[in-house]
């Protein structure tokens, strides 16, 4: 009988580069490829229907090293978006007419120009989402960020794998749960998540393992009850997100011999309704270096936009990009399985 596995230690950088990851997925025997699933569902070619959300990846620097991170982010990463690139993104925002800017990372708050960018976005009166790991709000220089978020009416979307410490700390590191609860209480004290202030607080959970997420609606009810009863924490919405078979999570799937089973499950659970609603159809993703992508996952797999389209913010062309054909591959099964998955949770 084996003892319980110890809590995870910070991982080193992912060993597989983007080429190797794509190659592993492409050579995996599957019942059919993603492009065939789209054909059968009558969704091929998958095309954008506008740019409603501009998602900016502010860099790979993070104060955490989570086991499932698709960005391979961590404290040792140095890639962060510069102010010049942010300026170009603001020009793109003005030209695109996107109503929402979604800030992600790494920990986007660790970008030295984060506050400057937040001020510029506030001037434009667009809806701003900050994808926050919560613990960053408990670190010295960033403790005042909740007040700044409230001042600018930023929607805060926070990662929390589970409402109990065990699963949260297994995925994100020891002590993360306790810090996360402290940060959530501080956000709540400002009115975040109370349903009346208009300060939106969403939590994001993804399975701690090789299985699909449970029903978002059911979990949201349960989480609201548990977090309120056990910790006095309130929030507006819970988003369930399927783990994408890339980067560190792909490596874990390989090491634990779960890759084939997990991919088979994603393929079997392909949902045409989810495919029609995937977030890449309304989102444009910008990398830390200003490169354009169909989504954050294609960005990490270094899958550029399809031929002929502009590939950098400096070459932005709203018309061409708003109607572009989206580049897909077998990792996309992660967004179309079951109830579907997106940065805003389930799709169908």
């Amino acid at each position: 009988m084996s003892a319980p596995r110890s809590l995870p230690q910070p991982s080193p950088r992912a060993r597989l580069d983007a080429d190797a990851q794509r190659s592993i997925l492409r050579h995996l025997p599957l019942a059919h490829r993603f492009s065939a699933a789209l054909e059968r569902a009558g969704v091929a070619p998958l095309c954008a229907r506008g740019i409603e959300v501009l998602q900016l990846n502010l860099g790979k620097l993070c104060n955490q090293t989570c086991r499932h991170c698709h960005v391979d982010a961590g404290p040792a990463r140095t890639e962060v978006m510069t102010r010049d690139t942010m300026q170009q993104c603001l020009s793109v925002l003005d030209a695109s007419g996107a109503a929402t800017v979604d800030l992600t990372g790494g920990a986007p708050e660790l970008n030295p120009e984060f506050r400057w960018l937040l001020e510029r976005l506030a001037e434009r009166r667009v809806h701003v989402i900050d994808r926050c790991n919560l613990t960053v709000l408990e670190t010295g220089a960033h403790r005042d960020l909740p007040e700044l978020f409230a001042q600018h009416r930023v929607e805060v979307v926070c990662s929390l794998p589970h409402y109990r410490s065990y699963a949260t700390d297994r995925q994100r590191g020891e002590g993360v749960f306790e810090k996360s609860i402290r940060a959530l209480r501080r956000l709540n004290a400002l009115g975040y998540g109370d349903g009346r202030s208009g300060l939106r607080l969403a939590l994001v959970t993804n399975p701690v393992g090789a299985f699909l997420p449970a029903s978002q609606e059911q979990l949201e009810r349960e989480w609201k009850g548990k977090l309120l009863a056990d910790h006095g924490v309130v929030f507006d919405s819970l988003y369930t997100i399927t783990n994408m078979p890339i980067s560190r999570y792909l490596e874990w799937l390989l090491e634990s011999e779960n890759l084939q089973g997990y991919m088979d499950e994603l393929v079997a659970a392909f949902n045409p309704a989810a495919a029609r609603g995937v977030m890449c159809r309304s989102t444009l993703s910008v990398g830390w270096d200003g490169q354009l992508y169909d989504c954050d996952f294609n960005q990490m797999l270094e899958l550029p936009l399809r031929g002929g389209l502009p590939r950098h913010v400096r070459d932005f062309d709203a018309q061409a990009l708003a109607q572009r054909e989206i580049g897909v591959d077998d990792h996309c099964f992660g967004c179309t399985a079951g109830a579907g998955s997106s940065c805003g949770g389930a799709l169908a």
Binding site: R164, Y166, A167, P207, F211, L212, A214, S215, Q218
Partner: protein
């Protein structure tokens, strides 16, 4: 055959209907209906199934309902309690038969 149980056979469950399709169709239709949410939630049904899987010691069922329980939002603490419920009933069933033993012993003894 070098071993009795093969993980891959779980995915072949439906092949059991090969020589008796009418009965297996009835079984699978009923099986699916059983696990639909009703007075019990899908998670509660998955946790019951997990406990029963341990009571009958079926490796296929343990694999299937460990995953099903996780996918319905159960955590390892709930799943472990489900196994304890199964174990308690198994253990209790043995112990309560001790009364049968006592009755018989009393009858046979002077």
């Amino acid at each position: 055959m070098s071993h009795y149980y093969d993980t891959h056979d779980l995915a072949r469950f439906s092949e059991i209907g090969a020589h008796c399709p009418e009965l297996s169709e009835k079984f699978f239709a009923w099986y699916q209906a059983v696990f639909r949410p009703g007075a019990l939630t899908s998670r509660e049904k998955a946790l019951i199934a997990l406990g029963v899987a341990h009571a009958i010691q079926c490796p296929y069922c343990i694999d299937a309902y460990s995953k099903s329980a996780l996918e319905h939002g159960a955590d390892v603490e709930q799943m472990t309690e489900s196994v304890h419920v199964a174990a308690a009933i198994r253990g209790g069933a043995s112990l309560v038969h001790g009364l049968q033993m006592r009755n018989q012993t009393d009858k046979l003894s002077m």
